[in-house]
């Protein structure tokens, strides 16, 4: 009988090419979401040109990267977006692009429908406009729903991607309803304290009780719900959720940013996790295969202080980016460790000591329709009530 090493061990030690990767095409964005992982808003003048982007696609094809997740900023605001999309799919690279929906009119929907190598993911962070727009800005909910409607009308099954927060975890069933209504597939993902996310993390990240609620919901109702494997830290609750259940950064995935910088992961845009640049000699392939950072990440990880915890094999110490941007040591617990060790660690972090990314492409000044702040500071109806919308009249669904 053949004995096989667990897959996790193979991937943890790295591959000759990523299996898939995130590619942020631009830092430009029409929105100014309060938790933006890439601090996007303003275009960077050093963006890759169309030809440089095509050269990257050529490399991905040679490396047999199966699938690329195109995001940003808002990728569709690049004037060559559709050209690059078609170029990728014509060169054996499957594409999923993530969008706030601003350019997904009927014509765009038809274009997507006509290309079987393209998937589209609509971002939404509230099942109702008030919850969504508080994070993503006035009108963004309507934009997303309009995009969903256009896609549904032409028979495209989109993905509806949600970043789980303190305010929308009570809305999980409603998200499922919206996805079902438009023939879309629901995707729930983890909020990380990355980019502008660091500024709102204390207020937005789920409470421990909500993490448990989310986990239970996924176990019970989550068949067919995608998660991008972003909740592997919750495996410490019990059975692991579907997916590889490990940190893929620099091992099976990575990020290519709008100026060609290669980072371990889109949630780790910081010099510490910068492996190289695609414009340098050897291109992306050389960075992936030979950069010091990625070779280091592919060394067996000791687990550090988490090693003695009986849940380590399940959670693998959690998310590197979450630890880094909350000022926690990388060889210790995740800030949202389900056993509470992360909270203990956080209490020791000196205020202001957490690293900040050096790049910030956020819009300066106001953005028309910028995020509507949630009314915070309102005392809950009951001391133990964790739902910030408790007591408010139900918002009218649009």
């Amino acid at each position: 009988m053949t004995t096989t090493v667990p897959l996790v061990e193979h991937f943890a030690l790295g591959l000759d090419a990523p299996i898939c990767l995130t590619w942020e095409l631009t830092y430009a964005c029409n929105l100014a979401c309060s938790h933006c992982l890439s601090s996007s808003g303003r275009r960077d003048p050093r963006e890759l040109t169309t030809d440089e982007a095509k050269a990257v696609i050529d490399e991905l094809q040679r490396m047999q990267v199966f699938y690329v997740n195109i995001g940003g900023g808002e990728p569709t605001v690049r004037s060559d977006f559709w050209e690059l999309l078609d170029y990728a799919t014509a060169h054996d690279v499957g594409v999923k692009f993530s969008t706030n929906g601003i350019k997904i009119d009927v014509e765009a929907a038809r274009r997507i429908a006509a290309n079987s190598y393209v998937d589209v993911q609509i971002s939404i962070d509230g099942a109702t406009a008030d919850v969504n727009d508080a994070v993503r800005g006035a009108g963004s909910y309507d934009t997303a729903v309009r995009a969903l409607r256009h896609l549904s009308d032409v028979g495209v099954s989109a993905k509806l991607s949600v970043v789980c927060t303190r305010y929308n975890i009570p809305q999980l069933d409603q998200f499922k309803e919206i996805a079902d209504r438009y023939g879309a597939q629901l995707r729930l993902t983890r909020l990380r304290p990355s980019g502008r996310g660091a500024d709102v993390w204390d207020e937005l990240h789920p409470t421990q009780a909500q993490q448990r609620e989310l986990y239970d919901w996924l176990v019970l109702h989550g068949e067919g719900v995608l998660t991008g494997d972003s909740f592997f830290h919750l495996a410490a609750y019990g059975e692991s959720l579907p997916g590889l259940n490990l940190c893929g950064a620099g091992r099976v995935v990575c990020l290519i940013d709008p100026v060609g910088d290669v980072y371990a992961c889109p949630f780790a845009i910081h010099e510490q996790f910068l492996a190289g640049n695609v414009r340098s000699e050897g291109g992306f392939a050389r960075v992936w295969r030979k950069s010091d950072l990625f070779l280091e990440l592919r060394e067996p990880q000791s687990g550090g202080t988490c090693r003695s915890c009986n849940q380590y094999d399940a959670c693998r110490g959690g998310c590197m980016a979450a630890k880094f941007f909350t000022g926690l040591p990388l060889d210790g617990p995740d800030p949202e460790c389900v056993k509470g060790y992360g909270e203990m660690g956080l209490s020791k972090v000196v205020a202001g000591a957490a690293p900040k990314p050096s790049l910030d492409h956020s819009h300066k000044g106001g953005v028309r329709g910028g995020p509507v702040p949630v009314t915070i500071g309102r005392r809950p109806d009951r001391a133990c009530d964790e739902d910030p919308l408790a007591g408010l009249a139900a918002a009218t669904a649009r």
């Binding site: 004995t3 998937d119 068949e223 995608l226 579907p242 997916g243």
Partner: protein, 39 residues
């Protein structure tokens, strides 16, 4: 032998094989979405 469930397009969320089905050791399925570190 139990017929392997054929998952729908992109809903493939195959869990790792259970311990007593050793024959499945050689093939493991994961959704392309099942990797942490992508959008």
């Amino acid at each position: 032998m139990e017929t392997t469930v054929v998952a729908e397009e992109t809903t493939a969320q195959d869990v790792a094989p259970t311990e007593d089905v050793e024959e499945d050791l050689l093939v493991e399925d994961v959704s392309i979405d099942g990797m942490c570190g992508v959008y």
